[in-house]
């Protein structure tokens, strides 16, 4: 019978089918923890006297609450945050887990460093107690976010008990227009089909516009599958994926084996649902409200949405979104802080200054490797000359942990993935967009169309 890529990965990982109930015991190839939610899994494991089944396949990183200011140490600006760091470090040592520590040269945001290190592999299952684990589906892995209890389960048993999800194909036909990016594809999907549109499904992204994306763009697209309420997203691996991973520290040296070629959905595979989007109809997108579904093309006006969202964001229906005044700009996160993102933003910032109204402008590389590569190309100098602060890697102000924050009541243009109430701080109003839209808007001091700066 013909099968989807998801079916093939699932079937090859079934240890026990629970029979009739729909739940199966699925083998987990890789577990990745971070200090914010992983610490809870590690401390519970120790408390219960349990041990990791195969520590060589479990990894951890300090990324969420680490200080991102140059010259950082263990101290974090989050009150009480240091405990998460020191406890995670000790627990990783006890459990025998590989840790990318605060000042490790390979440190970075979990979903950025996992591919950089070749930890995620096509056809594998990878879980992390972090919702954006779906990012790693870009490599044709079944990678998804779980809770801390499930992380403990995966570490201790090498498996998870899960109900088989449905499978949806989201096909992007045709080609993207210039200055339209993977971020705009993800936002368009969610804007058109809802923040709950992917519920109950694994989403396979396919089509010409997806094939045309480089691996970094594919990661951006898959990153937002969780914002679509999907269990995860994935893309069939091709030469781009294999070339990216070959020879990385934890990956095979080559992908010549026939096994790898089989990691595609069969031609006549049946999906439970299909969505098709014409890529040429996608414009640069920006959010107007408090859900990623509250997103519109940059040349559109704010539609009428839930009153609560209008009240929080302070924009009424009918207001053109372009021209909305801003106080802050943020380029970072597992969505959009890889080298190509920084290059595209720097392309717009080069030779320009951010507007005086922008009180805070941060550029936070997704990993220390990205930071080094960017510096080798002189991107740090461009960011700094334009008025952006150049940071060490971490999640930074993608979310608010207390401690560091944007100016009170700030309106922020952000390359991140969530514009929830309070996500970037109490009362902070977030507009999510691509890195080039963030750069263009920072220069303008108001939400601006990147196509006008190209």
């Amino acid at each position: 019978m013909s099968r989807t890529l998801f079916d093939k990965i699932w079937d090859s990982h079934v240890v026990v089918n629970a029979g009739g109930g729909g739940t199966a015991l699925i083998a987990i190839d890789r577990v990745f923890l971070h200090e914010r939610t992983g610490a809870a899994a590690l401390s519970r494991m120790a408390e219960m006297g349990r041990v990791v089944l195969d520590p060589a396949r479990v990894f951890a990183v300090m990324d969420h609450i680490v200080d991102t200011r140059i010259g950082r140490k263990d101290g974090t600006l989050m009150q009480g945050g240091e405990g998460f760091i020191t406890e995670t470090r000790t627990a990783c040592k006890t459990a025998g887990i590989t840790l990318f520590d605060v000042n490790d040269r390979d440190q970075g945001i979990v979903h950025v460093i996992s591919p950089e290190q070749g930890i995620v592999l096509p056809g594998s299952t990878l879980v992390a107690p972090d919702s954006h684990t779906c990012t790693q589906g870009a490599f044709g892995a079944l990678a998804w976010g779980i809770g801390s209890s499930e992380a403990e389960h995966a570490m201790v048993t090498g498996t998870l008990r899960i109900a088989r999800p449905k499978v949806m194909r989201v096909q992007f036909d045709g080609a993207l227009s210039p200055h339209v990016t993977a971020k705009d594809m993800a936002l368009t999907l969610i804007a058109r089909h809802g923040a709950g549109g992917g519920a109950g499904h694994v989403v396979e992204f396919a089509g010409e516009a997806v094939r045309a994306l480089d691996m970094e763009g594919r990661m951006t697209l898959c990153n937002m599958a969780t914002e679509f309420s999907a269990m995860t997203g994935l893309i069939a691996p091709d030469a781009k994926a294999f070339d990216y991973l070959a020879g990385r520290p934890y990956a095979p040296a080559h992908f010549d084996d026939l096994y790898w070629d089989g990691l595609i959905s069969d031609d006549d595979a049946q999906f439970d649902r299909e969505i098709t989007i014409d890529a040429s109809t996608i414009a640069p997108m920006v959010s107007w409200g408090t859900s990623p579904a509250h997103t519109i093309p940059i040349d559109a006006a704010v539609p009428s949405g839930p009153q609560r969202a209008h009240d929080y964001i302070g924009l009424s229906p009918g207001t053109p979104i372009a021209g909305t005044p801003l106080n802050a700009a943020f380029i970072g996160s597992c969505t959009n802080a890889r080298l190509s993102d920084l290059r595209r933003a720097a392309g717009i910032l080069k030779g320009r200054r951010i507007a005086p109204s922008i009180e805070t402008a941060l550029a936070v590389p997704g990993s220390m490797a990205v930071k080094r590569e960017a510096e080798a190309e002189g991107l740090d100098a461009i960011f700094e000359a334009s008025g952006f602060e150049w940071r060490m890697s971490g999640c930074s102000l993608c979310f608010y942990a207390g401690g560091e924050g944007f100016p009170e009541g700030a309106r922020v243009i952000s390359s991140t993935n969530r514009n929830f109430e309070g996500r970037q701080g109490p009362g902070i109003r977030t507009h999510i967009a691509s890195p080039e839209t963030v750069a263009a808007s920072a220069i303008s001091g108001m939400i601006a169309d990147p196509r006008e700066f190209a």
Partner: protein, 206 residues
């Protein structure tokens, strides 16, 4: 472990009077800054902090927020709209709800990670159609897990739940202990997988 009460009877608190609230995210259920230790306790006070308090630091209660009203202060059931529990995977959201005393959430749909976190903590996520939820909000309900029904006054509504999840909830089973009983099957599987996908199995670090 704390098995799900059979039956559970409680008033069902709507998070928002009037309209069911959609896309209630885990940052709202428990903001990151309220997660102060690596443990799973001490979270109830931070539950819905941005909505529950007019001044979060001083913990000044907002009298308009449902859970601050006498009628709903001890509610063990919450009612909301679509995509409940979206956002961050933090299980702290479920721990905070459970510590507060919530045993069941009724919604039109749930975010997948939150849904599974509920099951692992013996909190029952029930999916029902919106018109039904609108009628049940604010009412005194009886939830019968064995029969898979929610009833109020004269009406009774069936809900679906995965068979294994139901068993875990009803008996208060710990999933890890449950799976450890299958260790032999896991070992056999890994043994044969090692020859098929040797690249998955890494050398232990020194």
């Amino acid at each position: 472990m704390i098995a799900f009460p059979q039956p559970l009877t409680s008033v069902a608190a709507p998070l928002n009077p009037g309209a069911l609230m959609d896309n209630v995210d885990t940052d709202a259920i428990i903001p990151s800054r309220e997660m102060r230790s690596t443990g799973r306790t001490g979270l109830a006070e931070g539950l819905f902090a941005p909505w529950r308090y007019t001044n979060v630091d001083a913990r000044t209660l907002d009298p308009d927020f449902a859970l601050n009203q006498p009628k709903f202060a001890r509610a063990q059931i919450l009612v909301a709209g679509a995509n409940f529990g979206c956002g961050s995977s933090r299980e702290h959201a479920v721990w905070a709800l459970a510590e507060f005393g919530v045993r069941a959430v009724l919604a039109e749909s749930f975010a997948p990670i939150f849904h599974d976190n509920c099951i692992r903590n013996f909190l029952l996520p029930i999916t029902l159609p919106r018109p039904v939820l609108e009628r049940l909000a604010g009412e005194r309900l009886m939830i019968d897990l064995a029969e898979q029904t929610v009833s109020a006054g004269g009406e009774s509504h069936a809900f679906a739940i995965d068979r294994e999840a139901k068993q875990m909830l009803a008996q208060g089973l710990d999933a890890i202990d449950f799976t450890l009983d299958q260790s032999d099957a896991i070992k056999d599987w890994i043994k044969s997988d090692r020859t098929e996908r040797p690249w998955i199995y890494l050398e232990a670090q020194a």
